[in-house]
Structure formats: C-alpha cells, structure tokens
Amino acid sequence: MAIAEVRSHETTLKPRNIRVNLRRPGPLVLLVPALASIGAVSIYPVLLGLWLSFRDTTLASPTDTFIGLDNYFQLFSDSQFWNAWTHTIQFTAASTLVETLLGLMIALILSERFRGRGIVRAAMLVPWAIPTVVTSKMFGWLFDGQNGIVNYLLRSVGLIQHNVDWYGSPDFALVTIVIADVWKTTPFMALLLLAGLQTIPDSLAEASVIDGANAWQHFWHIRLPLLTPSLLIASMFRALDAFRIFDLVYVLTGGGPADSTEVLSTLTYKHLFSALQFGYGSALATIMFITEIVIAVVFGVFLLRKMREVGQ
C-alpha cells in the first residue's frame, strides 16, 4: 500500500515519466486480467486434473502418493470403462447423426417463406429451451413402462402386444435416451444450419432456376456444398456436447440396468463424487478430455479442407 501511495504521488507530480514507464508493458498489463481468469478457470483445473490422475488420491483415505501411470493401466483393463466408452461413442454417433439430418430438414423448411414462419421458428426452439432435467422427467413419464403414452400408442396401433419396459431393459434404455436427446437438441442443430443456409446468396438460387435445375439438383449441387462448413461446425459442436452426456442418464437410469446406459460422464461422476477416488476419477476425466480433443481435431481437419475447397 505504501508503495502504491508513493507511486500515486509520483503520477501526480511527474505525468511524463508515467507515460514512458507504461508504454512498454502496457498492452501486456491490459491482458493480465483476461489471461489470469482463463488460467484460473480453464488451464489450472485441466493441469490439476492431469496431476491428480497420476496419484492415488482418495479423499476419504490417507493415501495420496504419486503412482505414475498406474491409474491408466488400471483404467484400460477396467471392463466398466470400456463399457462406458462404447456407450458414449454409440450415443455420440447416433445422436449427432440423427440430429444433423433432422436439423437439416427442419432448417430447409424454415428457410422457405411461408405464413407464420416467425412463430414456427420460435416454437421450434422450445424443446431446446427446456432444462434437461425437466426433459428427462418428461421422457421418463412418456416412456414409463406401465402408464407411459408411448406404450399406449404402440399398443393401440398394434405394433406391440405387451408393454415395453423401456428404461428397465438393457436393450432399450440407451435407445430411449437417444430419442430424448434427439427431441431436445435437434432445434439447436436446425438453428445453426438455418443460419448457415442464410449465408448462401439468393443469386445462386436464381441462377440455378434460370439454368433449369430442379429442386433436388439445386439442393445437391448448390446448397449442400455451400452448407458443408456449417454442417461440419454444427456437428462438431453437437458431437463434443453429446460426448459429455450426463443429465439424461443421471436422471433417467443412473447408468443401469446392468450398466447398459453407463456413459463416461456418469462413470466419472461415480468415481469422483460417490467413491471420492480423485486420482482414478481424474484419469477417467483426462481420457475423456483427450477423446474430445481427438474428435475436435478430426472435425477440424475436415472443416479446414472443406473451407479451402469452398474458398477456391
């Protein structure tokens, strides 16, 4: 404090000196708050997680030593980890694919001009705006094995003879969760793709009409190629997000039955916060982090290539 006071005295007395002193570190000083907060909330936790993943820290026991890669060796021989890993990849692939296709269809419809388009566009976003826990509870009731409306409808049209136990059966539970996720997140995809469609100049559409292209040719040869970067960005966002799937599983099945809906996030949560195995849980989290980077890089490479093509 004393120094600050002295300095403030100097500033008032010799303004010219100050300007000279600040000039050199100036821009850097201004960046410090931003860098510090990114470091504190983003870089530090990642590094801390990495550091923990090399230790056998368990909060409720006195053990806390450096064990090198032991956690990772244990992880790779852990059938539950691979089980969860497989489910996560399945979920990510299925939900991203279905949501991209449905989202594209919705975006194409919403980019057309029709009466009440504004209302439809707004209404479309409703599922996405609902908190996921509420969505989960809602789908819990829709697919309820005894009183669910899905069973009732399927029985009414004769598709099934007996009620299907959607969440209690290892064969259906994950599929049901994918359906819930598709309902919830397709609007998000549609929104991103709609924005992408709107960047395509109308003049191209007019030109193709003059050249006698039909609707399909117009879509396939003009809109789709120009939309590819948006498609890739949107599916990358979606894939990275779907990979972290947690709330639907946590609320609907807790990972069961028989681990059939266990995904990496729920498994990590169980190890970190139920069993308080900070070391092992951090190793799991680190593997998730690495897989996410791989996904991002793969999409990124495709994206760059596409953008270069489009650019040419």
Partner: protein, 471 residues
C-alpha cells in the same frame, strides 16, 4: 465433586473429568456431574447458568434478555457449528437447534443445512469436503449410517467412548449401536432409525384368508393368487434401479437367507456364497419366473414403486417407513386403513432381515470445542429431544424407552408397531470403502437380475470387491 456422583455415572464422570482437564490444560474448574447438561463448563458460566436453570428449560426464553446482557458483559458462549442433511415435518432442524440455543447460554450452535437425504451423494460430498479440511468445521455433523466406517477410518469422527460408556449405550437399540461402532470404538451417536419393511394389503389378504407372509414362499403364493384373480395388478413391488436402493434391497434378501455381503471383519467377501446366490436368484425369479414383480422395478427406486401401491394396484411393497404416512393420507392414497406393516419375509428356517438406515451424529475429531460439541450431541440424542424429533419430524427414536412413550403412541402410532422391524434391522457392509463396494454391487446385481446369470455376476462382484477391500 464428581466423587459424589450417583452409582454408574461415577466411572464415566471421572473419565470425563480427565478428558476435560486435558482439553482445558491448567485452567482448573469445577464441574457438576449431577447436573448433566452442565458438565464441563467454567465456574463463572456455571454460576450464571444455575440461576437460569432454576427457572427451568421452558421458561428459559423469558430470560433471553439477561442472557444477551451476559454476553455483552464478555461471557460469550462457546460457538460451535452443526451440519446436517435437511429433515422437516411440523418443525425443522433449525428450530430444534434454536430451542437448544435458548435453553442454555454457554454454547451457541450455528446450523448449516445440507441437501435432503434423497440427495445422499451430495450430502456425502458436502460433508467429506468439509471434514477433509480438518479445520474443525463443522464441530458436529450427521451422517448416513453407511458412512460411519468411512469417516471413522479417515479419523474425521471423534471416538466417543470416553463420554458415552457401554452402560449408557444400552439404552439404544443394539443394531444401531453396532452400526455406530467402528473397530471397537463408538464413533457416532444414534439419532434416528429407519429400515426396510414389508407393506401389505390387509383387505386383500383377508379375502384370501391368508395371513401376513413370514416366508418368501408364503408371499409368492399369496401374490400369485391375487394377481391371477385380478385383485391386484402387481404382486410384490420392490426396487432394483442401479442405485443405492438396490444395495438396500439386496441386503434384506441376502440377510433373509442368513447370508451377507462382507464378513464382520470387513475383508471376507461372501457375496458369491450359496446363501447370497440363492437370494439373488430369488430376486431374479420374482420378476422372470414367478412374475409377481413387474420388470419395471429394474428402473424403479423408492417413489416409482410406492406410487402403484398407494394407488391400490399392488398387494405387497418393500419400502421405508415414510410410506406409512402417505398410505394413510386420503389425499394421496386409495388404501387408507387397508395397509399393514410387517418385517420382510425370510427363507425357510431363517430370520427376517431389514436394511438398517437413518442418520447418526458425529463429532468432528478436529473440533476446537470438543466439550461443547459433545454437550450438544448429548442433548440432541437425549430422550427428550428424540421424542421431539419423533413427534414433530416423524423420525423414529433409537432409544428403546422413547419409542414406548405414550406420546408416540398418540402422534405416530405406526412407529410402535414397527419396533420388531427396527430391532431386527441389519446394517449394510461395514467398510471404509463402502462407496466403492456399493458401486460394484449396484452394477453386478443389476446385471444378475437382467441377464439371469446370477452366479457369474456375483462371482465378478466378489472379485472386484475383494480387490477393493484388500487395500
């Protein structure tokens, strides 16, 4: 002065005196073991307090101004903190703590509320994060019965044997005291008890001319008759969601065949023994073979299974004591006055086993005000306070004598019916690694129930649990 203490208390008091002298160093003082709540306070506090005590606890609130003045004069009460999961009924825990604060002026308790017990993982997490800091905050906490071993092994919970001797502990149900003991040391003080039990439809069984089942065979028999005649949609509802509740159900099934999950040493794994395999096979058969339990239980925890029962669709239900209140509430139940409660059935020639639940008190081993903390838990676990929790919040007392109190017969008649259930309740596996063991059990038993490959799943569970508990 403590030499004049009456009979059995003398031993305890002298121990307490020693502990006190250690705690307070050379600061010599008098205590009065005859006036229980005043044990272990400074003389000037004591003198002040006696004046107050004359007026009696109920009138204490009128003395509050004088207490405040006393505080202003420099005799501040000892500040301690108390952390508990949230329970409420006609009263909240905060109100009970306030009652303690205004009943005396030497200790002031600040209550910190944690989430309700339904968010058990979050409560556990919150407590562990605080206790692991070892900074003495909170001084007193409440813990789910399954965490006692974990907290004791981590040396977070203060052993209480010096303050509550075996004689005193005889006033509590033995099963609870056992659950509060880790490696021969009492590390928790009983608060309230809950356990799994069998709810049944009296009216339906009367129509059949059957009595409440004592064995699984009898239950299956009655349930089959009731479902095949269409009198009940479901025979027997329980919970098999891959979650903690599955472990609770597992313990009752396995225990009812004389089996266990872990041996008393906490190291021997007995989940793949014949008794356990037979019991899990029964759980599987109830769904797939006898078909008195719908497959839906595989994704049900407590509430989804409670709904159909209080809605009048099921003949039998395994659940905790909270269901009773709902089942007798006309607004939420179509089976008012038609429900009976008995201990869960057992295998032939074996004993019924209910899964023991409930929260118990613990004192933080790092507490800076241990004496005050112990005084506070002593009050919280006293017969009067237990009675208050029973009548006001509906938490079943762990003191045998309190459960027999006529006031409970009046306010919570069902608790007394359950005495035999509570006495027979058995704990879940006792090990400081319980959370990890529970995760394995949840996943493998769920696998056994869905795949039907009971033996293989339990063998896998055994291998995994052995690897966890051996370290």
């Amino acid at each position: 002065m403590h030499k004049t203490a009456p009979h059995s208390k003398a031993q305890q008091s002298s121990t307490r005196q020693r502990a006190l002298d250690q705690d307070l160093g050379s600061d010599k003082h008098q205590i009065s073991p005859n006036q229980k709540p005043e044990d272990g306070i400074h003389r000037r506090d004591f003198i002040k307090r006696t004046g107050l005590a004359l007026a009696g606890v109920t009138a204490a609130s009128t003395f509050l101004p004088s207490v405040r003045r006393g505080m202003a004069a420099g005799t501040n009460p000892t500040e301690i903190t108390f952390s508990s999961a949230k329970f409420y009924g006609k009263e909240t825990i905060a109100e009970v703590v306030d009652a303690y604060n205004s009943s005396q002026n030497k200790i002031h308790v600040t209550y910190k509320e944690l989430p309700p017990p339904s968010s058990s993982t979050e409560v556990h997490q919150g407590l562990v994060q605080q206790l692991a800091r070892r900074n003495g905050d909170p001084d007193v906490f409440t813990q789910d019965i399954i965490w006692i071993a974990e907290f004791a092994a981590a040396k977070w919970a203060l052993p209480l044997d010096d303050h509550f001797n075996a004689e005193v502990m005889k006033e509590y149900f033995p099963g609870v005291v056992q659950a509060c003991t880790w490696q021969g040391k009492l590390t928790a003080l009983p608060w309230f008890i809950d356990s799994g039990m069998l709810y049944y439809r009296k009216d339906l069984l009367d129509e059949l001319g059957a009595k409440a089942p004592e064995t699984w065979g009898e239950l299956i028999d009655s349930a089959k008759k009731l479902t095949s005649s269409g009198k009940a949609k479901f025979g027997f509802l329980w919970q098999a969601k891959q979650a903690e509740v599955l472990v609770c159900d597992l313990v009752s099934f396995v225990g009812s065949n004389g089996g266990s999950i872990l041996g008393p040493d906490g190291k021997t794994v007995s989940i793949a023994d014949d008794a356990a395999i037979e019991a899990v096979q029964l759980m599987h058969d109830l769904i797939k073979k006898d078909q008195i339990t719908p497959e839906d239980v595989l994704s049900w925890d407590e509430e989804p299974s409670r709904g159909p029962f209080t809605g009048g669709e099921a003949a039998f239900l395994r659940n905790w004591s909270y269901v009773w209140k709902i089942s007798q509430d006309k607004a939420n139940s179509s089976v008012v006055d038609k429900v009976g409660v008995v201990p869960l059935p057992h295998f032939p020639n074996k004993k019924s086993a209910a899964c023991l639940g409930g929260y118990q008190y613990g004192v933080n081993a790092s507490s800076k005000n241990k004496e005050a903390a112990i005084e506070f838990v002593r009050w919280m676990s006293s017969p009067e306070t237990q009675l208050r929790f029973a009548t006001q919040i509906g938490l079943c007392p762990t003191r045998s004598a309190v459960l027999d109190d006529p006031k409970i017969a009046q306010e919570q008649p069902f608790m007394q019916q359950l005495k035999s259930v509570f006495i027979g309740a058995i704990g879940r596996p006792v090990t400081p690694k319980y959370p990890q063991v529970a995760l394995v059990l949840q996943s493998e038993v769920s696998r056994a129930l869905t795949s039907g490959n009971v033996k293989a799943a339990l063998q896998t569970a055994k291998d995994k649990i052995q690897a966890i508990v051996k370290t």
